[in-house]
């Protein structure tokens, strides 16, 4: 064998892992407050607000599901069981902050002040978004999974560049964490140190697929480590815990500390949507432990233990939720005002000549149809 030239091996250059900011590893146990002595310290007013919103949220979910049965909604993805994630998180935001929700996050959207009817417009089918995103600083509900996460990063980045101390809260499901946009958003946010809080609602399933087929990570919160951001693990049925963890993450982001990834452990009580048959992928008793750990009951127990909730107050809270549901039902049962010309109104700032032609065509079709219709026939 040919002799190689003399080569003196040298040791490789020293490698120092980056330790700042440290430590990044998530909590070993999901953070919990309700049912522990620490809950006694909680502000009674906050507990009451959480309770009212949770009860309303639960009622909104059952009402919206009922509306699908009446054909008023094409589909509804219920967040029953997950109300604490949605409300605990949204309540952690200031008015100037932004929310970037997924399709299941209507309760968080309502918690920002959006009219419940407007949150259902997308599902009713008369307008894709249903509300003006700037009014309450809520981005449109995103149907493609995880794609709204980079938007949250960009918005928070732009706000920081302009000198505004705005934080963006971006919500995603456990399934959504497998999407490329999730990784790209977290990486961008960490590199840019953007004031973003990512909230993963781990409800156990992506439609029918359980978490262990979605990821091999020890927890979804662990994913934060690889990007160089903090990961937090929280009991997603504990509204107070979610609120505390999110408030801290929002504060950290606002102070320039960069993004946080929060994983909230929860359970999707209903099927993926009313159109899904959960019986095909889980047994009726699956999730019983989670059902027993109900987010509404947890807050009620705490309020009761502290003497903050008597039968009359509880009745008043439930009556308020009923009123909300009745109002929702009544307004959703009105036919949506529809203008076919809306089809062309907002494709571009100025319609293209091609769209103007098509608009004229549709206008003529509608006029002709009106002429053909015998006197007195309903439209």
């Amino acid at each position: 064998m040919e002799q190689r030239g003399a080569y003196t091996p040298t040791p490789p250059p020293a490698w120092t892992p980056r330790t700042d900011p440290a430590p990044l590893l998530p909590d070993a146990e999901p953070y919990r407050v309700l049912g522990t002595p620490a809950a006694r310290e909680a502000d009674p007013e906050l507990l009451r607000r959480l309770h009212t919103a949770l009860v309303r949220g639960r009622r909104y979910n059952t009402q919206a599901t009922a509306l699908t049965k009446q054909g008023r909604l094409a589909v509804y993805p219920s967040s029953t069981g997950q109300e604490a994630c949605e409300i605990g998180a949204a309540f952690a935001l200031e008015e100037r902050d932004w929310l970037f929700p997924s399709y299941r996050d209507t309760l968080a959207v309502i918690a920002r002040g959006v009219d419940p009817v407007e949150t259902l417009t997308l599902l009713r089918g008369d307008w894709h978004t249903g509300y003006d995103p700037y009014e309450h600083r809520v981005a449109p509900l995103s149907t493609p999974l995880a794609t709204q996460l980079p938007h949250a990063v960009g918005l928070a980045h732009a706000a920081r560049l302009k000198g505004d101390d705005v934080v963006a809260l971006a919500m995603v499901g456990d399934g959504g964490t497998s999407e490329g946009d999730f990784h790209e958003a977290l990486n961008f946010a960490a590199v840019w140190r953007s004031p973003v809080v990512f909230l993963v609602q781990n409800n156990g399933f992506a439609i029918s697929v359980p978490l262990d087929k979605q990821t091999a990570a020890p927890s979804l919160a662990h994913k934060a480590v690889g990007y160089g951001m903090r990961g937090r693990l929280v009991d997603g049925n504990d509204a107070l815990a979610v609120h505390e963890v999110l408030t801290e993450a929002v504060r950290h982001a606002r102070a320039g500390g960069g993004p946080t990834l929060v994983e909230a452990l929860t359970y999707r009580v209903e099927a993926h949507t009313n159109a899904d048959d959960a019986g095909r992928y889980r047994a009726p008793t699956d999730g019983d432990a989670w059902r027993a750990h109900d987010p509404v009951a947890l807050v009620e127990a705490e309020l009761t233990a502290r003497g903050l909730l008597d039968a009359d107050t509880l009745e008043a809270v439930r009556a308020d939720a009923e009123t909300m549901a009745a109002d929702l039902r009544a307004r959703m049962n009105q036919d949506a005002p529809l203008d076919p010309m809306d089809l062309f109104a907002h494709v571009y700032a100025e319609p293209t000549p091609q769209l103007r032609e098509q608009e004229a065509q549709l206008r003529a079709e509608i006029a002709a149809a009106a002429e053909d219709r015998p006197e007195g026939t309903p439209r």
Binding site: Y134, P144, H151, G154, K162, A185, N187, A349, T352, P353
Partner: protein, 335 residues
């Protein structure tokens, strides 16, 4: 005191860079972002000097993730900025496709006008530079099939400046296709006078003629002009229309030309099947049928993945292929 600057040769790359610079100087909301656009000035040097002049936040090197870049640009636009995104090469824009199609193109529509996204996506496109795989695609058909996007492509140095300024000023998202092959093409150009901004949506007649119209855009414009010169030897007097904008489409200029000449050939590099030429030929036929002396023909790239560099000259529509098509316009009833 005003100094007069004499016209001097400038490249399309310089004109594009100048357009970015002027847009950034005029409007602090304009932010340039992408891979290697900062210190390096972009792999084609279009963004050269911008980071030095405006800082590395207004001309920002991003992580290497096209969906992330465009997705972040969406959020930035939501907050009032005007992001100009550079996609390094045509085929590397594909990871950003979902953001483009699912959000960029339809956010105005989804929000009933409340949330327009003034984003410019610059995509160097097309072949002819000996690029390896994934560096030469003509991806325009994907973009023009997506409602909500403007799709623009310059063929001259002056248009590169004028159309890019218009794209950045537009309140709608614009896919700005830069013909790589023409980056180094030169024209006598006085960058200080005048700096004309070309409105999006207008085609232009680059060469007038009487016997047939070549409808083309981007990298194929110079090829068509060359073909038109060569065709004079055969007695053909060809008109060349540079479309400049695929969306919106200038039916008016195109149809006026075809009605005058009675014959038309659409020329582009992208594959013919499902390509822009099919749409253009159909539009022209629908609008000019009684003026046509022959079917509208297409000269396009083959329907193949972009070929390796040593074979690309066989794929790209060249002068001869265009002249062959022109010869076929001598339509006989029995042919």
């Amino acid at each position: 005191m005003s100094t007069t600057v004499a016209a001097k040769p400038a490249t399309m790359a310089q004109a594009l860079g100048r357009a970015l610079r002027d847009a950034m100087a005029d409007d602090p909301a304009v932010h340039v972002m992408g891979e290697d656009v900062g210190t390096l000035g972009g792999v084609f040097r279009i963004t050269d000097g911008l980071a030095a002049e405006f800082g590395d936040e207004r001309c920002a090197d991003t992580p290497l993730a096209e969906a992330g870049i465009l997705g972040a640009a969406v959020g930035m636009a939501m907050y009032g900025l005007r992001p100009v995104v550079e996609m390094q090469f045509d085929a590397f824009a594909y990871p950003a496709f979902e953001q483009l199609v699912s959000h960029v193109a339809r956010m105005r529509n989804r929000t009933r006008g409340a949330m327009p996204l003034p984003i410019t996506v610059r995509v160097p496109y097309g072949g002819g530079i000996g690029g390896v795989e994934h560096h030469s695609d003509s991806s325009e058909a994907y973009y023009l099939a997506t409602p909500g996007l403007h799709v623009v492509t310059p063929a001259t140095v002056a248009d590169a400046y004028g159309l890019l300024r218009a794209a950045i000023a537009s309140d709608d998202p614009v896919v700005f296709l830069e013909p790589k092959r023409l980056y180094w093409s030169k024209a006598d150009w006085n960058p200080d006078h005048p700096l004309s901004v070309e409105p999006i949506g207008r085609a232009v007649v680059r060469r007038t003629g009487r016997s047939a119209t070549l409808l083309t855009y981007g990298p194929s414009v110079p090829v068509c002009l060359e073909a038109a010169e060569a065709a004079t030897a055969e007695g053909w007097d060809l008109e060349v229309v540079d479309l400049r904008s695929l969306v919106p489409f200038d039916d008016e200029t195109v149809c006026a030309s075809v009605r005058r000449t009675g014959r038309a050939v659409v020329v582009h590099e992208a594959g013919g099947f499902g390509g822009p030429g099919g749409e253009i030929a159909a539009r022209v036929t629908e609008r000019c049928f009684h003026y046509l002396e022959a079917p509208v023909l297409r000269v396009a790239g083959f329907d193949i993945p972009y070929p390796p560099p040593m074979l690309e000259r066989h794929h790209l529509p060249g002068v001869d292929r265009i002249l062959d098509a022109v010869a076929r316009l001598q339509w006989e009833a029995d042919s």
